[in-house]
Amino acid sequence: MPSRDWNATHEREHMSRTAWRVIAPGSLTTVQDRGRDGWRHLGVGRAGALDPASAALANRMVGNPSDAAVLEITLGGPTLELPQPARIALCGAVIDARFEDAQNRVHAIPCGRPVDLPAGLLRLGAIRSGLRAWLAVVGGFDVPRVLGSRSTDLRGGFGGLHGRAVRSGDALPLGPQPMHDLVEPQAPAWWIALDTAPANASPIRYVADGIDAAHALARQDWRVDPRSDRQGLRCSGAPIVAALSERISAPVAPGTLQLPPDGQPIVLLADAQTVGGYPRLGHVVCVDLPRLAQLRAGDALRFEAITADAATLLRRKRDAELARALLAIDDRLQRG
């Protein structure tokens, strides 16, 4: 793939509005940003990308603010028709990506770097390791903000594109697009290293509540139950037996570890409901929630209890690493 003058061309060319046509929707493709805050007391959950850091990296590579709306792709990606050139970036799990130009020539599209595409068909295929990837486009996906966010609330049926996953025939509106002519895909000679280590290579860390059952979680292996979704990752394994009565409903959060009567723990994720009655075992620390987003049905996983202080240190380290990566991207884009 040839390189081009990578200096931002956006300023000197006029901007236009356009939309991508969804030719095939993929397994579960939703518009997500950082999610919504401030409405949990009315039963509205956060939603948002399951890996906000990957979404932020993809956004910055196309020159967007970190919180612009992206597409969250699950397992199998969508086929999208681009009526005009656009800069895109893919982060998260590595996904098979092909581009078919107007002359029906097919180009392989790399992940983890910005790619300028001419008009044509973007065919996102299988994710072979991991489960989810995030696609950013310059200008962002310009769906209306609902309750302060462009994220899709799948359970509430609002936000994102018509409150649901994308379907064939949908038009995905984009923010302002810089116009430039382009004949074939072009990418710079640099890229960011995506974390391709299996998400279950090390234990998922959690802060345990002060009950025995909370520590039982770490004493055995679990598998990801096929009923897992954006609301919760369900674990299956030898049931945790605990004499815990259901409590009157209390608030829950993304990360909350619940123990239903069947003894099979659930980790709540971004689409978590706002209150729940199951006993609580603790919470998965926020730095490890994106790893859960990459686990598939049947994958093995283990848990490890850590202290709240250790969780704070992990988060600070992660935040610093992300800030450095974002700066490095900005720097690269400016240098061209």
């Binding site: 805050d37 401030g38 409405w39 949990r40 007391h41 009315l42 039963g43 509205v44 609902v146 309750l147 609330d153 359970r155 509430g156 049926g157 609002f158 936000g159 802060v207 509540d209 009565s245 259901e246 409590r247 009157i248 409903s249 209390a250 608030p251 829950v252 959060a253 993304p254 990360g255 909350t256 409901q273 706002t274 209150v275 729940g276 919470h283 620390v285 926020c286 709240a308 969780a311 704070t312 988060r315």
Partner: protein
């Protein structure tokens, strides 16, 4: 408020709910029973924190006997939030909260196709359907919390004689607006969803609309009354909605 710094309250407990959230749990006479007085204190503390409006506050979720406080990790940390919370709102302000509550009337068409379980529920309780309707409509309810789905109010204040167990097998589709009893509570399904509560009737009023500036008709702590309406009123109100 700043002059009432007497340190952590003995009657509340802090639990870390997430890296970015504290759960404040109130001592309550029996943790498995809904206690209206405890719930009033939850709403009072929520109101106090909301009024103080610290810059790091992202979400404030009152429930029956607990209050979740979500904070912005970009501007504060868990310890600082806990220290601040421990010095807030020591006075019992439940009375002021009750005065401030709005009393909202919810029109309901009881029975028939609108409330499929009404007759069976009345039979199970050993009372006439009209009696069930009258008792359900006589009470002044409090929105103890909102959850399950956006805008779904859990209402406390149900006449204890109307408590009904949930269905053994939940329905896969409960119509939007359904007014129902589940255990010792009553509630309203804002949109079509699965559900196991016993359906008494339906309201034509739209409880939740994310496009409205104030998306939920009801807020935690609000007071609610049900008003029985007939088919004509239902049709008219449904048109207006």
């Amino acid at each position: 408020m700043s002059d009432s710094k007497v340190g952590p309250r003995p009657d509340i407990r802090f639990e870390l709910l997430a890296d970015d959230a504290w759960l404040i749990a109130f001592d309550t006479p029996d943790a498995s029973i809904i206690d209206p007085e405890t719930n009033a204190r939850v709403h009072a503390l929520a109101e106090c924190i909301r009024t103080a409006a610290p810059g790091w506050l992202r979400d404030l979720v009152p429930a029956y006997a607990t209050l979740a406080v979500f904070f912005d990790l970009g501007t504060t940390d868990a310890q600082a939030v806990r220290d601040w919370l421990g010095t807030q709102c020591v006075d019992d302000v439940a009375d002021a909260q009750a005065d401030a509550s709005r009393a909202i009337e919810i029109p309901v068409r009881y029975g028939g196709a609108f409330g499929e379980d009404l007759d069976a529920a009345a039979a199970e309780l050993g009372i006439a359907a009209d009696t069930l309707i009258a008792r359900h409509g006589a009470a002044l309810y409090t929105v103890a919390m909102i959850g399950f789905a956006p805008g779904f109010p859990y209402l406390s204040g149900l006449d204890p004689s109307l408590a009904l167990p949930r269905l053994a097998t939940p329905r896969t589709r409960v119509p939007a607006g359904s007014v129902a009893i589940g255990g010792a509570q009553t509630g309203i399904y804002p949109r079509e969803s699965p559900g196991g509560w016993r359906l008494l009737g339906r309201t034509p009023i739209r409880l939740f609309d994310p496009q409205r500036a104030s998306p939920s008709l009801l807020a935690p702590g609000d007071r609610v009354r049900f008003i029985a309406i007939d088919d004509d009123a239902f049709a008219r109100l449904e048109r207006d909605a």
